[in-house]
C-alpha cells in the first residue's frame, strides 16, 4: 500500500510545524498538524505505511504504531488530500482519534502527537462583513446594509416594508 498525495488544485503553505492547504475547487482550507503533515509529505506513491511509521518514529523520536498512520490517512482521505482513498484494512478495528489517544497513552505510557486535519469553508465576501438579520430587515432596520442571509442581498424597501433582495 503506497498512498499518493493530491497536489492538483491546491495552494499549499508550509509553516514551522504545520502545513496549510487550500482546495481551489471546494474552497475549503485545511491545517495539518505536525504528524498529519509528515504523513502527507511522504504520500509520494513510493513509501509504504511501515516505512512511514519508521520515518515518523525517527522524526518524533518515539515509537509510533502503524495505526497512527492509518488514522492520518483516514483524515487526509476525508479532506480529499489523497489522489485515491486508502481502504482501512478489514481486519483492523477502526479507531477514532479519541480512542487512539486513549489506546496509545495506555500502551506506550506516552502521548504522541496524533494526526489532526482541521478544516474551514472559506467565506464568501458577504459572510466577512457586517450584516443585518433578515428578521431585522423586515422591520426596516439596517436598510442599505448587506443581509446575513441570503448571501449577496441587501436590505431594501419594497412595496410594503423591507426585505433582503
Amino acid at each position: 500500500m503506497r498512498p499518493h498525495a493530491r497536489h492538483a488544485g491546491l495552494v499549499v503553505q508550509q509553516l514551522a510545524d504545520e502545513t496549510l492547504a487550500y482546495d481551489l475547487e471546494r474552497h475549503r482550507a485545511y491545517c495539518l498538524n505536525r504528524t498529519a503533515a509528515l504523513v502527507w509529505q511522504h504520500c509520494d506513491g513510493r513509501t509504504t505505511l511501515t516505512e512511514m511509521a519508521t520515518l515518523l518514529e525517527a522524526a518524533e523520536q518515539t515509537p509510533v504504531d502503524e495505526e497512527v498512520i492509518w488514522l492520518a490517512l483516514e483524515q487526509l482521505r476525508r479532506a480529499r488530500l489523497l489522489q485515491e482513498p486508502v481502504p482501512w484494512p478489514v481486519a483492523e478495528r477502526r479507531y477514532s482519534r479519541r480512542e487512539m489517544m486513549r489506546k496509545v497513552s495506555l500502551v506506550a505510557g506516552i502521548t504522541v502527537l496524533l494526526p489532526l486535519v482541521s478544516s474551514i469553508v472559506a467565506p464568501v465576501t458577504a459572510q466577512a462583513t457586517t450584516c443585518v438579520k433578515s428578521s431585522d430587515c423586515s422591520h426596516c432596520i439596517g436598510v442599505g446594509l448587506p443581509c446575513c442571509t441570503p448571501h449577496n442581498t441587501n436590505c431594501v424597501r419594497v412595496t410594503h416594508g423591507c426585505s433582503c433582495a
Binding site: 514551522a16 510545524d17 487550500y22 491545517c31 489532526l116 448587506p146 441587501n154
Partner: protein
C-alpha cells in the same frame, strides 16, 4: 451604462483607496459634499480618468408638485443597487458597498472582518462574524484606554502588520439591532495611525454567563481562524496564505466562549505583563515555536486559567 452616461451629471469625485481607483458622480452637487464622510478611511483624491468602479447617484429630491417625490437611485457601474425615497438609505448602502468593494478588491492589503485595538505597541485582533460581540469588546477596550484601529476590518500588509481602518464604531443595542454610529473619540479613545505587529488574537463568541477559559491555537489553526473571516479568501487564497502566517507568527491566539466584555477586558489589560510576547519578527517564521507556546501557556495561566494547547 450608456443611458446612465447620457444623464446630466452635476458633479463627481475620483479617489484612490488601497490601490483602487473609484469614481462617484451625482446629479446634485450639494449631495457630493455629504458623501465625503462616507468614503473609506484613508482615501485620497485622484486625477485618474479611468476608474476601477464608478458609482452613479441620482438624487430624486422634490417633484414638480409638493405631493410628488422622486426616487433616489444608486448604481455601481451599470448595476442598480437601490431605488428609494429616503436619501439616507442610499448613503448607508453606498458606504457599506464602498467598504466591501475595497475590502474585496484591494491590492497588497488583506482585509479580515475583525475588531482591532492597540495596547502598548501591539495590536489586539478580534475576528468574528456579525453579532459575535466584536464591537462590544472593542468598545470596552477603547473605554479602558486602548487605541482604536477598527471595528470592521483588520487591514494587513504583506509583512503581517495591521493598519488602521478607523470608521466610527457601529454599536448595537442588546437585541442586536443597529443603534448608532459612535466615533472612538466619543468613548474617550484615540485613533491609531501607525501599522503595528499583532500581539494577541482573540477568537471568541459571547455567551451569557460563560467564563473565559480559552484554548491556545497553534499558528496553523490561528491562520485558519483568520482565513474564516477574510473578505477575499476565495479570490486570492495564495495572498492570504502568504500574509496570515506573518500575522500570527509573533502573536498569541486564543479561542473560547466569553461572558461579559468588561470581564474579559479587565483580565486582558490588567495582566498585560503576562501577555506572552515571543518577540519574534516576521523573519522568524521558520522557527520551532512549540517551546514558546508552552511558555505562553504558563504565563497566561493567571488570567486564562485552564487554557490548553490545541493539538
Amino acid at each position: 451604462m450608456e443611458k446612465l452616461d447620457r444623464l446630466g451629471w452635476a458633479a463627481g469625485i475620483t479617489f484612490s483607496a488601497y490601490g483602487l481607483r473609484i469614481g462617484i458622480r451625482v446629479n446634485n452637487a450639494e449631495v457630493l459634499e455629504q458623501l465625503l464622510g462616507l468614503l473609506p478611511p484613508g482615501w485620497k483624491p485622484s486625477a485618474a480618468a479611468v476608474v476601477d468602479r464608478l458609482y452613479s447617484l441620482i438624487s430624486g429630491g422634490t417633484g414638480p408638485r409638493p405631493t410628488v417625490r422622486r426616487f433616489n437611485l444608486l448604481y455601481a457601474d451599470a448595476v442598480r443597487l437601490m431605488r428609494t425615497l429616503d436619501l439616507a438609505e442610499v448613503f448607508t448602502l453606498l458606504e457599506s458597498h464602498l467598504q466591501l468593494y475595497v475590502a474585496e478588491a484591494a491590492r497588497r492589503r488583506l482585509f479580515v472582518h475583525a475588531g482591532v485595538v492597540a495596547w502598548r505597541g501591539q495590536a489586539v485582533v478580534i475576528p468574528g462574524r456579525s453579532f459575535s460581540g466584536k464591537t462590544s469588546l472593542v468598545e470596552k477596550l477603547v473605554q479602558a484606554g486602548a487605541t482604536y484601529y477598527s471595528d470592521e476590518y483588520a487591514v494587513f500588509d504583506a509583512r503581517g502588520r495591521v493598519h488602521p481602518f478607523p470608521r466610527p464604531l457601529s454599536i448595537r443595542d442588546e437585541t442586536g439591532r443597529l443603534l448608532k454610529k459612535c466615533p472612538a473619540q466619543a468613548l474617550g479613545g484615540t485613533i491609531g495611525v501607525k501599522p503595528l505587529p499583532v500581539g494577541l488574537i482573540i477568537v471568541s463568541e459571547y455567551r451569557r454567563g460563560s467564563r473565559w477559559r480559552p484554548q491556545i491555537l497553534s499558528p496553523g489553526q490561528a491562520t485558519l481562524a483568520l482565513l474564516a473571516h477574510t473578505v477575499s479568501a476565495r479570490r486570492q487564497p495564495q495572498f492570504a496564505f502568504a500574509t496570515l502566517p506573518q500575522v500570527v507568527s509573533p502573536a498569541l491566539a486564543l479561542k473560547g466562549v466569553r461572558g461579559e466584555a468588561q470581564e474579559l477586558v479587565d483580565m486582558l489589560l490588567n495582566d498585560y505583563g503576562n501577555w506572552p510576547n515571543r518577540g519574534l519578527s516576521s523573519t522568524d517564521n521558520g522557527k520551532d515555536l512549540r517551546g514558546d507556546r508552552t511558555d505562553a501557556t504558563a504565563r497566561t495561566t493567571r488570567w486564562a486559567s485552564g487554557a490548553t494547547i490545541s493539538r
